[in-house]
């Protein structure tokens, strides 16, 4: 008798342990199960690959944003950065032509992303301008520059085959998913297993303590922003490839989606806490909601309500589950 009771108790504890340790994973799982039964076509390989492709564009940036937010900063300019990167690549593709043009454009876009991010961090250092402000200014300015490059017209002079990057398949899996997976692994490794990653957590947790521990705190913050700039340029190129053009209106409002994914994934807006893995869950969660609602043909006005409700519900449930003891 005793053993049975014990066994049951153990099991219960095990279940509670899972609930406590993986609440967001469980919520995502529940959402997926719900969609499998309720959303026509959700479970098809084809659809799942589509969801992955769509979230890839967002997710690539979100991993960088996770590091930025953990380091205690924020980047509101990623949507504009995506548009700018697409326009730069498209412009060079048109001006130089062919894959050479694309390569040059991509290199320029990546350099611009890196430099703008890095300088944002240095601004914080030299002039104590919060990154919220700098990137808010960039939010407007980068999109303006993108439009100045294109003159307001979509640039479409890409070499043939360019659409592979955003739209093609490699071994049956959409190409952007590889980039997404690679970014995940790389950022996960960087944040957990490099001294740079450790420094990011320290800097966000207590800037002064990190500084007095001999960490080059501004370099660390600037680098998280620069990394995000590079990832934004990569995502921007993929998106330009997917829609076949570079225009200044691409990715409007994307910054909020990216930040939402990071926060839903459990990263604290106040810095010092967060996980790349959590962001992966957050990104997939948002992707599944959007996909599911379209599949279920939820009317556009209800979509707003449902989306808001699900986000709130999930985060709430997450907090409640974490408390189960």
């Amino acid at each position: 008798m005793t053993t049975t009771t014990e066994h049951v108790e153990r099991k219960e504890n095990f279940a509670i342990g899972i609930l406590r340790n993986y609440p967001m994973e469980i919520i995502l799982g529940a959402l997926i199960v719900f969609l499998i039964f309720m959303a026509p076509g959700f479970a098809s390989t084809h659809n799942l690959l589509n969801v992955l492709r769509t979230v890839s564009m967002l997710g690539i940036i979100a991993f960088g944003m996770t590091a930025v937010i953990i380091s205690g900063e924020i980047d509101l300019s990623v949507g504009a950065g995506v548009a700018l990167a697409g326009c730069i690549v498209a412009w060079f593709a048109g001006a130089i032509g062919g894959w050479g043009g694309v390569a040059v454009g991509f290199a320029v876009a990546v350099s611009v992303g890196f430099s703008v991010g890095f300088l944002t961090g240095q601004f914080r250092r030299w002039f104590d301008v919060p990154t919220f402000i700098t990137t808010l200014a960039l939010f407007a300015a980068l999109r303006g520059v993108a439009n100045l490059i294109t003159g307001g017209f979509p640039l479409t002079n890409f070499p043939s085959g360019f659409d592979f990057l955003g739209g093609g398949y490699l071994f049956g899996i959409p190409f952007p998913v590889y980039v997404f997976a690679f970014t995940f692994v790389a950022m996960h490794f960087i944040m957990n297993n490099t001294s740079f990653g450790r420094a990011v957590y320290a800097v966000g947790g207590n800037l002064e303590a990190a500084r007095l521990s001999g960490i080059n705190v501004w370099l660390v913050k600037s680098m998280t922003l620069a990394i995000t700039g590079v990832l934004t340029a990569i995502s921007g190129t993929l998106i330009a490839s997917q829609i076949g053009s570079g225009t200044g209106t691409t990715a409007t409002g994307m910054e909020l989606d990216v930040i939402a994914a990071v926060i839903i994934g459990g990263t604290s807006l106040f810095g010092g806490k967060g996980r790349i893995w959590g962001t992966l869950i957050g990104v997939l969660f948002l992707g599944c909601i959007s996909n599911g609602m379209t599949l279920m043909n939820v009317s556009e006005y209800w979509q707003y309500v449902v989306r808001g409700g699900i986000i709130l519900g999930a985060v709430l449930l997450n907090q409640v589950l974490e408390r189960v003891r």
Binding site: G197, R198, Y201, A210, L212, S213, G214
Partner: protein, 512 residues
């Protein structure tokens, strides 16, 4: 208004009683079936080593946390405090171990926070600033401290902030006062001021619980001493019947503790650290000294004498206006903390909570934070690589923790201090600055820390040692510099002076 005395006084007024009170933090038993009655109108010292549960007991009474099991009686009534507000309402006022002021606000506002004096104009009530500052200034003056109500708290040093905390507690006219290590940041003068206040309150019949790690204070101020060990009630003694050894025995059982090794002759030919005429506006000026291999240099001074500022500036945490610094024969003037740390200098700051530790990060992460370059091979780091560094410090410094993966905020104050020191020892420095390393550390752990400093010295580690407790400076250091108002006024040999002489040197000519 919160403080209204009960209309009818009973015999049980001011009595605190615990019945089988237990507090669990997850698997940690912070307090274990604690049963005791604290009589009214007396000063009850509470002793115990770091992490024994003293602050936990105070927090229960302050309404900050709630007991897992057991009951508390206050003024003879069974009480459950669900918020600090409830505790105030019962006449209990607490000075917490960790500073709890709002840095952006003024001193006066902090003192009356949550009960600012009001003025009524046309049915609207708003803050009566004039009255507030007048009251606060009167209070501060009555306490005999030189702090102004309109100063922003962020401009005060840690010691001055502690004084503000005490002023805040006094302003409540408490009937029960809980003091959790109020003197850990205070120098002799302020300690005497505090003791004056405590005696005054005792005359008024206020019950006090007084936590300290400074054994000498007990005999000065306490009526009884209650000892807890690992959350358990060990016993109580009347101070008039007790002696030093009894209490230490109760606290530690029969653990052994260190004594100072014999002083060695220091080879004073090649300084490892040479500071020449450094100045920093509004902080200190024209400071010059040398530090030799294996030497422990003490700096004595009163609150705000500028010791912290000097060490921070040398370490590169604040800029210098003039002067030069040479470390291991290399000119390191204007180096950043990072460069300093790479050059072999370590610095444990005085306020561990604000700038010493990343509270939300794991103990492991904090212990490796300053030595990431050494721990990580080619920038790559794993828990396995960190483990030896972590285990070594936990063992060497006897850091009391169940799991080094827990956030450092779960440690008791003294153990947090050890983590700060461990963090720097992991960088294998050859010069260390210890700024108040013994603050909030129990007698035993204090000896351990001193032992670490002495043992380091044996192996060639040079240190600067700063403590507000001058007797510690005399015991630990090989040579002592005296600072007054930002200047070095003299140098003394600790073997050729005594406490009152050193205190006199620190005081001489100082304002007030």
């Amino acid at each position: 208004m919160i403080m209204q005395k009960l209309a009818t006084k009973t015999d049980e007024d001011g009595v605190l009683e615990f019945h089988d009170v237990t507090k669990l933090y997850g698997p940690t038993k912070a307090l274990s079936s604690f049963t005791h009655r604290f009589d009214k109108g007396r000063v009850h010292a509470l002793m115990g080593k770091n992490g024994s549960g003293k602050s936990t007991l105070v927090k229960l009474l302050a309404g900050v946390i709630q007991p897992t099991l057991g009951t508390m009686f206050v003024n003879g009534e069974q009480r459950q405090f669900t918020s600090p507000h409830d505790s105030f309402a019962a006449g209990i006022v607490t000075v917490h171990q960790e500073l709890s002021l709002v840095p952006e606000l003024t001193v006066g506002e902090n003192i009356y926070l949550g009960r600012l004096p009001q003025r009524n104009v046309g049915g609207l009530s708003f803050v009566h600033w004039k009255k507030l500052h007048a009251q606060a200034d009167a209070l501060l003056q009555d306490m005999g401290v030189n702090i102004k109500s309109r100063q922003a708290v962020s401009t005060l040093s840690v010691g001055q902030q502690q004084v503000v905390e005490i002023a805040k507690a006094m302003s409540f006219n408490p009937s029960i006062l809980l003091l959790d290590e109020p003197t850990s940041a205070l120098a002799t003068k302020e300690v005497n001021m505090l003791f004056g206040l405590v005696r005054r309150l005792k005359e008024q019949g206020v019950t006090m619980i007084y936590i300290t790690h400074r054994m000498s204070e007990l005999f000065d101020i306490a009526d009884t001493c209650t000892v807890i060990r690992d959350g358990h009630y060990i016993g109580s003694v009347e101070m008039k019947d007790a002696d030093h050894a009894d209490i230490v025995g109760m606290m530690f059982g029969d653990e052994a503790h260190a004594t100072r090794p014999p002083r060695r002759a220091i080879e004073r030919s090649n300084p490892v650290l040479q500071v020449k005429n450094i100045s920093r506006t509004h902080a200190f000026k024209d400071i010059s000294f040398e530090l030799y291999p294996g030497e422990i240099l003490g700096i004595a001074g009163l609150l705000g004498a500028g010791r912290t500022e000097v060490m921070r500036a040398i370490f590169g945490a604040d800029p210098l206006n003039a002067g030069s610094v040479t470390l291991n024969g290399k000119d390191v003037t204007g180096y950043t903390p990072r460069q300093m740390s790479q050059a072999g200098l370590g610095y444990t700051p005085e306020n561990r909570k604000e700038v010493g530790l990343v509270q939300m990060a794991a103990i492991t992460d904090n212990l490796c934070m300053a030595s990431l370059d050494a721990v990580a091979k080619g920038g790559v780091i794993t828990r396995a690589q960190e483990k030896p560094f972590v285990d070594k410090q936990i063992k060497d410094l006897s850091i009391k923790t169940d799991d080094p993966e827990l956030p450092v905020s779960s440690l008791s104050g003294g153990n947090q201090q050890k983590v700060v020191i461990g963090k720097w020892l992991n960088t294998k420095p050859n010069v260390m600055f210890f700024d108040e390393p013994s603050r909030g550390v129990d007698v035993h752990a204090k000896r351990q820390i001193f032992d670490i400093i002495w043992e380091g010295a044996e192996h060639g580690l040079s240190s600067i040692f700063v403590s507000t407790e001058l007797e510690e400076v005399l015991e630990v250091a090989d040579r002592v510099l005296v600072m007054r108002q930002g200047e070095i006024v003299t140098e003394v040999d600790p073997t050729k002076t005594n406490l009152s002489e050193l205190y006199g040197l620190c005081m001489e000519g100082a304002k007030n």
